[in-house]
């Protein structure tokens, strides 16, 4: 079952075609690995899928109303002046907080729970941001370079989690220069042609 479809989409910036004529779909229980070199338009394509950016041509269709999306991009969307726990309180409603906190423990962040987030390492901040994905039961998961900055154990944990979610019917789209470690359809962006 298709959740999101892209029909013949193109994106041009400053007269330079990032990609054109792309058609694909994000299906129930499937994963899509968007690949390509730096500047090939992977992040732009992710933002188009999310509805944040608009394609120059073509259209994105959400096949179900009220589709729940979760997304983590290059920016972590966490507040550096708050503690990690305060960040979780800000992101999650009370009903979801316990689940988020169990991921917080699983990611070994307990030791820094009272630190200011700005004092955490890049990897720890990334882990904290990932809880937004891990503790969220969304239909579609969209990730932009999710493995960057993570240690091997956390990479494995994330890959296992994503694999499990896809097997349970979630749809996943991700960009990554690091191999995700599970079966994905590949979509290769190659400077204007795909």
């Amino acid at each position: 079952m298709q959740l999101i479809t892209a029909n013949n989409i193109s994106y041009t910036i400053n007269d330079q075609k990032l990609f054109h004529g792309l058609s694909f779909s994000l299906d129930h229980g499937s994963a899509l690995h968007i690949q390509g070199g730096n500047g090939s338009g992977k992040s732009t394509l992710i933002r188009i899928l999310l509805g944040i950016s608009t394609p120059t041509k073509g259209e994105i269709k959400y096949m179900q109303p009220n589709l729940v999306l979760s997304y983590l991009g290059h920016q972590n969307a966490i507040k550096s002046y708050l503690t990690p726990l305060e960040n979780l309180e800000l992101i999650f409603p009370k009903a979801q907080f316990d689940n988020a906190y169990s991921w917080f423990k699983k990611l070994n962040l307990i030791g820094v729970q009272d630190e200011t987030t700005a004092n955490l390492s890049f990897g720890q901040q990334k882990k904290l941001a990932l809880i937004r994905i891990l503790a969220n039961d969304s239909d579609v998961i969209i990730l932009d370079e999710p493995f960057v900055g993570l240690d091997q154990a956390t990479r494995d944990l994330l890959a296992e989690y994503l694999k499990l979610r896809v097997s349970k019917g979630a749809s996943l789209a991700l960009t990554s220069h690091i191999e995700p470690g599970f079966n994905c359809h590949a979509l290769v962006l190659n400077g204007g042609a795909a």
């Binding site: 944040i52 997304y71 969307a77 409603p93």
Partner: protein
Amino acid sequence: MISVMASELFKLRKKIRAWLGPLLIMILVLIAFPLSIDISQYDLNKFYFSIIVISLLVISFLATETMFVEDFEDGTLEQIYLQERDFYKLALAKVLIYVLLIGVPMSLIGSLFSFANGVDASQLPQIFITLIFSTLLLFNLFAFGAALSINKGAMLGVLATLPLALPVIILLGRAIRAVQFGNGFYEIMALMIGAGLLVAALVPLVISITLRTHLE
């Protein structure tokens, strides 16, 4: 809406510099000005209100200058857009929380300093309400400026919104004269409340569209 307001209140409360800084600067200006000129109390009383009005204008701009920058830079705006598909609630909540945490204390400070400079105690509530509605108007206008110049420096916001703030200043001046002379205060307040509510309801719409454009 209540949860958005609670989140915004929580965030602003934690950023002590963002709300305490403008209040301290306002106090400093209102104390420093009379000390910096050699003038009689009688003459000072005549134009001290102008200092309060100007400091209200400048401090309102200072307080709102970076209202959306942090959420834009750390990716929070993207997350909010995915949930809400617009920024109306965010803009409305942010402005109301800023008015509550900065605008109301500013109005209180302005009222107390006007009391210390010749205003009758019985007129304080009127002055206070006038200043609150002025800050509501100014915060909305400057929040629009902040949204407009979110990634282009503050000058664009100043240039775009300062002309819009001038009618507020004129209205505020009229209201204060009306309080001082006891003539026509309620008519001006009705106009100010009407304008305040209209602006508070509509400007977040414009801010929402502006933020959406920046995100794209």
